[in-house]
């Protein structure tokens, strides 16, 4: 009897797609090997088009609903826990470590789910100006975020490169190199959690192939890099980003409230008081 092996594809605009280039790269694990999409420039452009649309849908979803969709994601992962543990073990993790990683992942999703309808209260405030004006600072999500995940094989680390920006209403293009099998498996749970299409796109490949396309794309509002880059990669990204004053964060904080701050634009509105 021959085993059936799963084919992993990029997850763009709510669909599983191959790279338009037709190119793949091989990921060999202990028991299994996978041919994964090698994302091209055109794939990035398609993802950005989808993310722009996804941003409109996701950022206008009520915080109450965003909270429930994120919570639904934790339910999905809980339900598929065994298969995640198995995949992590195939990457070389012990059963204990793999289980811990999934438990922490679920814990963090629940934490961010509960933050979805609270962060505006924590990050915004009324300002006590010294004249008769109503003055309030509140936040908008920054828009389309490109996030390069870290190199450790960990669902939790992958999530921490996505959840802070996703929770506040950004749409996210998550890009993975080393942990791409895990990321593309995770896409299935995203697909089953009622996220609007384009709110989270998940791609795999070699980052250096698309570094310039990402950092020069004017419709990506922020680039977050969650790992150390070789060969002046960060410098190249930041140089390209300066052409459109794009925000770049290298290894941003993932602690508590400070984790979401890079993804917010503060808007302050004034209005006179009077009769």
């Amino acid at each position: 009897m021959i085993d059936i092996k799963k084919t992993y594809k990029n997850y763009v605009d709510g669909k599983y797609v191959r790279s338009e280039s037709g190119k793949t790269y091989t990921k060999e694990l202990k028991n299994e090997f996978y041919e994964l999409p090698l994302t091209s420039k055109k794939d990035i452009r398609d993802a950005v088009t989808s993310s722009k649309d996804g941003y409109k849908k996701w950022s206008s979803t009520t915080p109450y609903l965003r909270m429930q969709i994120l919570y639904r994601l934790s339910e999905m992962i809980e339900g598929n826990k065994e298969s995640y543990v198995e995949l992590l073990m195939d990457h070389g993790l012990t059963k204990q470590k793999a289980t811990k990683d999934i438990d922490e992942s679920i814990q963090n999703i629940v934490w961010f789910a509960g933050l979805a309808d609270k962060w505006e209260q924590l990050a915004g405030n009324l300002n006590p100006v010294s004249e008769e004006y109503f003055n309030i600072s509140h936040q908008n999500p920054i828009g389309v975020v490109f996030s390069l995940s870290g190199s450790n094989i960990s669902l939790n680390e992958l999530l921490m490169s996505i959840l802070p920006s996703l929770t506040v209403g950004c749409s996210v293009i998550s890009y993975s190199e080393e942990n791409s099998v895990l990321a593309l498996k995770f896409a299935e749970d995203i697909n089953n959690s009622d996220f609007p299409s384009g709110s989270l796109n998940i791609l795999s490949g070699k980052f250096e192939n698309i570094l310039n396309d990402v950092s020069k794309h004017v419709e990506i509002n922020l680039v977050a890099i969650h790992k150390d880059l070789n060969n002046g990669g960060l410098k190249a990204i930041e140089q390209n980003a300066s052409e459109s004053v794009k925000r770049v964060f290298s290894k941003p904080s993932i602690e508590g409230l400070s984790s979401i701050l890079p993804y917010l634009e503060t808007k302050t509105v004034w209005h006179p008081k009077g009769t």
Binding site: L122, N125, N127, P128, V129, S130, E131, Y133, N135, S137, N140, G232, L234, K235, A236, I237, E238, Q239, A241, S242, E243, S244, V245, R247, K251, P252, S253, I254, E255, G256, L257, S258, L261, E265, T266, K267, T268, V269, W270, H271, P272
Partner: protein
Amino acid sequence: MIDWQYSESIESPDIVSIKKKYTNYIGGKFVEPKSKKYINTISPSTEELLSKVPLSNEKDINNAVNSAKEGFEVWSKLTPNQRSRYLFKIARLIQERSREFAVLESLDGGKPIKESRDFDLPQVAANFFYFAGWADKLDLSWATKSLKPYGVVGQIIPWNFPLLMLAWKIAPALATGNTVVLKPAETTPLTALLFAEICEQAGLPPGVVNIVTGDGSTGSLIVNHKDINKIAFTGSTQVGKLIQKSLAGRDVGLTLELGGKAANIVYEDAAIDQAVEGVVNGIFFNQGHVCCAGSRLLLQESIHDEFVKKLEKRMQSLRVGNPLDKNTDIGAINSKEQLDKITGLVNEGVEDGGELFQTECELPGNGFWFRPTLFTNVQPSYSIAREEIFGPVLTTLTFRTPEEAVEIANNTEYGLSAGVWTEKGSKILWTADRLDAGVVWANTFNKFDPSSPFGGYKESGFGREGGRHGLLSYLKASS
């Protein structure tokens, strides 16, 4: 009919004694520049030489940065309460010498004394007071313990609000425990150097505040210095991009306060007379040398003709002239270079087909002046509707629906500020939600307060100044 005679009311320049030559302020001392070079600073309203200030070179910047590093060792070891008290003291000293600063600001920069006296100086003191109180409450400001000062901060500021921009930069930087090297603009260095005297009077530890003057090359030396931990820049988007590029790949923090091309949207249900007043204040305040100036007037079609008529009438009453005359509404353009830029863009607007209105008024013989200017019949593609003019020039566009107004307003790479005029509350909130702008003024314009965050979306820069959010520009999140 009574024959009204205009009588001027000139503020005496004697209150401030301007030295023939100034030095840098480094390590708590006034020191001659190692470069041995100086640049002239003139009064833009008379073109007379006011003084000479150092054109600082690499050695001077080295000394300033080293001094700030040493200053940081001392400053960071003080208790938060001590840092708070220094800032309170500075605020008080500014209040006491405020008339002197106001006159100097108007002389060196050309802005009306009415504005330097009633707007700039009170705001400068208020900023130091506001941030003084944060210095010992940083642990309460944001729910995170991982925020730390950067260390040595390089600050480069523009010429439109010289001392106020200094206050916006220095007050929060010091309150959060950083030390600074600040470079005022080439054309308006004098109030910053007078501020150095305040630091001395306050007994601020040496090296906490260092002030070096020069031109763009001096600014670039600060940006590229290896021991700078953070750069805060206010100025043009063009220079901001260059700074962002120079810092690429370096572990240096950056906040940018760049240009703008704000839309001031007037709906047909606005209180028209109030709106006219607000639109005038929005563009002609400080000669239009304001990054958040309401330079694109968006009028709902149905009120266009009536509004323009009232606006032209109101503009005609603006008094252009001697900045030290207390009646002056519009002072001198800051420099010859800026005047040329404004003139060039206005000529382009006429060539493109824009309909030009300028007020009739006599302009002084010397100095740099520009008449309050209004363009109507403008297409969104004209450069006067797209580029930041940074002068007393207002461009009018029209719209039919709120959706169209928002679309036009956001159709720019800038995103600093915007204005909305309507008597309908729900329409204000609907519009404000959709505008890509860091500050939205509804039924008002150009209001500022130290407690109110200011800063842009998109190519208007990143980071906020003022308010609780302003603290984050000087605190580094470490995980």
